[in-house]
Symmetry: C2
Subunit: 456 residues, 2 copies
Amino acid sequence: MKKIALFSLMFTSLIHAQSKDEQMLKAIYNFSLTQSQCYSWLDDLSNKIGARPSGSLSAEKGVTYTKQQLETLGLDKVYLQEVMVPKWVRGEKETAYILDNKTKITVPICALGGSVATPKNGLTAEVIEVHSIAELKQLGTEKVKGKIVFYNRPMEPYNIEAFDSYSNCVDQRFYGAKEAALLGATGTIVRSMNLRLDDFPHTGAQSYGDLPKEKYIPTAAISTNGAELLSQKLKENKPLKFYMKLSCQQYEDALSYNVIGEIIGSEHPEKIMVVGGHLDSWDLADGSQDDGAGCVQGMEVIEIFKKLNYRPKNTIRVVLFMNEEFGGKGGKKYEELSKKNNENHIFALESDSGGFSPRGFSLECDDAYFAKISNWKPLFEPYLIHSFVKGHSGSDIQPLTSVKIVKAGLKPDSNRYFDYHHAANDKFDAVNKRELELGAATMASFMYLIDQYGID
Amino acid sequence: MKKIALFSLMFTSLIHAQSKDEQMLKAIYNFSLTQSQCYSWLDDLSNKIGARPSGSLSAEKGVTYTKQQLETLGLDKVYLQEVMVPKWVRGEKETAYILDNKTKITVPICALGGSVATPKNGLTAEVIEVHSIAELKQLGTEKVKGKIVFYNRPMEPYNIEAFDSYSNCVDQRFYGAKEAALLGATGTIVRSMNLRLDDFPHTGAQSYGDLPKEKYIPTAAISTNGAELLSQKLKENKPLKFYMKLSCQQYEDALSYNVIGEIIGSEHPEKIMVVGGHLDSWDLADGSQDDGAGCVQGMEVIEIFKKLNYRPKNTIRVVLFMNEEFGGKGGKKYEELSKKNNENHIFALESDSGGFSPRGFSLECDDAYFAKISNWKPLFEPYLIHSFVKGHSGSDIQPLTSVKIVKAGLKPDSNRYFDYHHAANDKFDAVNKRELELGAATMASFMYLIDQYGID
């Protein structure tokens, strides 16, 4: 009898525990879908402040705005963390055309982040098309020297996760100029990292690596339609040149900030759980998907906890990192100060894959903890959150090195992400209110469960 | 030893069987994401043909086009099925304004499908706002007579499935005019079935039921922003009237067609598996999401089977139903002829919830078969298809009554669907190529498994 009673008690408390979590998740999703501020915050960030490239005036406005908003939430602390960031400015809008005999066919390009400018009157050269850095190297100096290298390997359409296609393609953008410069090229153009055919060139970081400055060559992205056209023209084997003019310039590093707000843990104030995204964007648009969405979702997690009167056991800290796009200085500075202050991070969650319908989380943790997290899947099922996988979490939380830290990235539906990523159409109307709110609720739910059950 | 050998053999063949299905699904997804025609078919349907309301010239063009395309696929049969459909024409674009004292504030409205016109010079009346038919009935004739009834209950933002919010809201649109007419109202306006605030009025079917014709009153949808504004103005308690002018007209029923293509089954030609969507759309836009997407996905299933040289055991029939939006005559005619010809349908799959990222299927079947289908979940996991639930399949396949039939509806992500549904922005650019193709592949995979393993 006693045994049965004990079992019954255990069973009852199990049900009770589960039901408590079920109720909390329900309250979180309900709040987010009906009362959250994240969409209106994004509206302000995108439409009142706009594009926020590192070191720009509008990035500073973004800092001031988000700090002010966090201050309205009644947190225990809201503060800024100084960080010096690279400042690169595009200057005058780029022009480019295919010079097909005497016909000029304009194509949409944009300088890649960190590119040097062309000469004032632009650069004209023959074009050589390649599909990989390996192919370029095989061609060698003789065939490359004096030419514009055109990297034209498309993102693979057949991967289910669009980020896999990005990873398999982005070396052309990141290392393409350096490799071409080593073979004497005068410039490079790279097919935009975009799964669809359209007229938007997509910028993004590139690196000259350890090249001496005098060897830097200008590098730009061309829209996918432009790349298709250029490739087709090259197949016609007519004498063809390419003209491009870039006016971009690298300035001195500028002072900027990570924006931080926190609720101090009631049981383990020394254990820190970070949530956030990055406040900087590229300069071509307001970066609503990349990563305005992640910032306001991080802020929303904190708002949800406050408004639902949930007092976390551990310290919850929202961090809006500066300069993810072009240097990652904010994430590095955050880790540097964290080490200096002997902080102990147990968990970090970043949203930097867009504000689309949330599908799950990408996790950096050991097998045992992964198994523990997998046990929470039934709690997420009613919200159509189903994908818990091991993988990359987020660029800004990458530097964090606390011994036992678990890291996670929100995993939204990836199909449309590269339609907007780093392009002029990454604007407010690309984000759906419900999808943004569901993402925030999914993050808050995950943070709640980690806070409740720890990471041991 | 023998026992072990047998077990080992069984195990090997189990692995083999599973691996065969895994390979087939991989081939299906791969084909759909790299070689399918569905997106270009949709481009034609949407951009060359356009809106296809029942009985219209463009609906007939849609019939001709899709039949021609099916004829290029080398099917065993392609044919049309005659069906008489209601023909309702919107006429001149509607106008409406709030008459706030002497100020006219224009608001976007559109007549609901089947509405009668207002008098030629329009209709002006006081407005009474309600949030449900029950509330209207409580008000009674005294408070309603001579007024325009304004139904303003929004779609619930807190449901995870947007279709639940639609179901809980659409009674206002479908029955609202009839109920208001019974209490002497002169017209009705209904808040658009849209989860977001914007300026698009959303049309859709409404029914006067058994009202005598002379009692019919004009009825229109107002955009969600318009509804918010009107409601706010009404709260100010000033004398306020509403003006609307509708020029719509009901014509004689017109001859139209269901479009059908089939591959005859190699083992069970008498067992029919149907897949498809509906070819008609509303008239305000080309209906790329509703339901151009479903049509081309159904066609794509057939293309995938043909191009992968998969010879189905059962007869696979793609059906593009006519007139789902306003009468459902195509689905009814299909069932009528099916009965007459003693056809035996074992399975029907409809895609009529948009061309968004596929998430799973909504199933009408018994528990045992539901359990069988659930066993296939691991096969779908690599494609992020995770949601297999019991529920409504599709309007066009609803009439089918074969004894053992299993019915399914493709379940795409629903968050953005009502941003476009029945509105002027349901256009080609609302559909993402990858999402459309993933949906088609998910349907083809499901059809393949049902074809392989039957429904017994």
